[in-house]
Symmetry: C2
Subunit: 397 residues, 2 copies
Amino acid sequence: MACSEFDFEIIKKSKSCNARLGIIHTPHGNVKTPAIIFCGTKATVKWVTIEHLKQENTQIILSNTYHLLLQPGPEIIKKAGGLHEFTGWNGPMFTDSGGYQVFSLGYGGVAAEIKGVRLPKGKKSLLRVTEEGALFRSYIDGKKVLLTPELSIQTQISLGADIIVCLDECTPYNTDKMLVSNSMVRNKRWALRCKDELERNGNGKQGLINVVQGGIYEDLRLESAEFANTNNFDGLAIGGSLGKTSDEMYSIVKMTKEMLDETKYVHLLGIGGIKDIFTCFKYGIDTFDCVSPTRIARHGIALVKVKENKIRNSNQINITSAPFTEDFTPISNECECYTCRNFTKAYIHHLFKAKETLGGQLISIHNIRFLNTMMENIRKSIDNENIDDIEKDYCNE
Amino acid sequence: MACSEFDFEIIKKSKSCNARLGIIHTPHGNVKTPAIIFCGTKATVKWVTIEHLKQENTQIILSNTYHLLLQPGPEIIKKAGGLHEFTGWNGPMFTDSGGYQVFSLGYGGVAAEIKGVRLPKGKKSLLRVTEEGALFRSYIDGKKVLLTPELSIQTQISLGADIIVCLDECTPYNTDKMLVSNSMVRNKRWALRCKDELERNGNGKQGLINVVQGGIYEDLRLESAEFANTNNFDGLAIGGSLGKTSDEMYSIVKMTKEMLDETKYVHLLGIGGIKDIFTCFKYGIDTFDCVSPTRIARHGIALVKVKENKIRNSNQINITSAPFTEDFTPISNECECYTCRNFTKAYIHHLFKAKETLGGQLISIHNIRFLNTMMENIRKSIDNENIDDIEKDYCNE
């Protein structure tokens, strides 16, 4: 039994693989899993109103602690009554620990979703990692910030999301095994400090997720997984370096998932490509998150089933390209989103040519609905034991 | 009786001034006047979906023939079934003639709403004005385009708006009276060519508006007005140079309006400030248009009643300014728009600080509702003969 109002229930397990149907119970409602979590990095899913998110069947959104810690700051959001009140989103919400951005920026590999970074290119913002925490420089005003496990949790308490995450260091691919090991072991100590902080200052409603690290090393993943399994966290996440190629990633995710307590909710951090989802839900991953659906939308890329794509063997069509100038059909004939019910590809193509933001808004709305429907279809296929039948609609050969 | 499905009906005249309540009947529905027309320059009201426009009680929108002639071109919109089909807006719609942009760009005074102009700064796009029409260079591809009265009307027929406008030359403030006179007289010939073109190729459903010009000269305005009154147009518009100051503008609008057939619908082109509306509806102006409500919104400026403004004696508050960092109240406590029902000034302030587009979207939605409600209040005040009572709510001393 979880130590918070958060709970995870497995409804059904697939007979053919490790996929499962579940329900995450939170104080702001339930999430049917497998599910995708849409990224509202700075307390908004870019360009999309809450109203449209809801209309397109969005179950849960995510905000980034790193960004909100720096702007507007947790005090403001706490005074507003938490992120739910602040943003108007009254459904389930997830925040990460802030660690991923601190470390991905810090090691020079600037995560693609981080916009508006004001530090000179190439200048690393991470100053020092010690037992105490990670010292980094704010991209807002250049001030030094020490992100400790306690500060991460205090911030996430102020934000008030339903699912929150322990601070962990995220080592890059090329790190020496000894350093990955030291980092993973320190992550365990940080996780216990996070748990203590939440127990001391939390309201008992937030579910705490522990991130399994260990890079590409099986023994380190196992040590991290055993810690995660035995410390009564509400859920687990697979994070850190997952290798260089998709295949390597899939094999690490599969290996790691098999090490985890199978009754626990498991999130796969920062991964949410269509092929990734179709591969990893079969390993038993319950939720995914990725900035890509709305980011590609702002560049004119719409998601479609492979069989609907007349141009190439892919899930993506580029609405800004010439063939759509006079295409008076919706992005998808079978999609029921606001965009597909009301607008043609020719109109959206025009909006991009005219540099009108509405074009990116309309494709964002479509991509959100597309993925929500895809996840619904995945859930149905688990229920009906016909997973393989739908995969060919969504994934190219 | 009008020569199209367009019709204008006066419901009531004020006892204290020339204000009137009216209804514009169009094939896509009615517009209660006095009304404001929101600008959807390039076939979209910037950053706002049709759904939000409707929710906020928008009656009628405008698109610019100049922009749509160049991108995507009238053929595409015609193939789409017209602007209503293309944009998804199924209510009343207005297009201008394209003349204003050709001439305002051409004389070097680049209209503020024209974005994305690729010509070098200061380079004039207007090449020549002859009896035939205005030759200008496209800002899209540099090609020469001859905008004739016939091309303007053919384009507006393809666009299919309910209210369309005769091509006219719009001379700037500092123009010699003889040149203004010659231009105004040529405008009369152009208007007759427009009327002929519409009768030849139109579907009988579009109402044709003639623009009264003549600059700041009473005798020229009178000559233009007499022409407009006696040539069976569906409606009239006051355009051209209206002087240098607001007071001069008001006196020219008043003078010109008094010259016009009082049974005709009259639009005031490109004017829609709150003080302008409150002054000019009393002269009997029926509709206004202005890009400002959504443009200022994208820069963080929200419209409020003067009495609601705690900071200064004005209709505008700048949500990006420091006092709103911790202001957990809506833009307006009495406003019923989507934004005010769901979001605080602190949240919108954060969105602007985080460079999130949603901030501008939310203020745009508010400003649209604010003005639609203001116009509704104006209509009620005409009906109730208490115009002066509401003016003090909206206008500073």
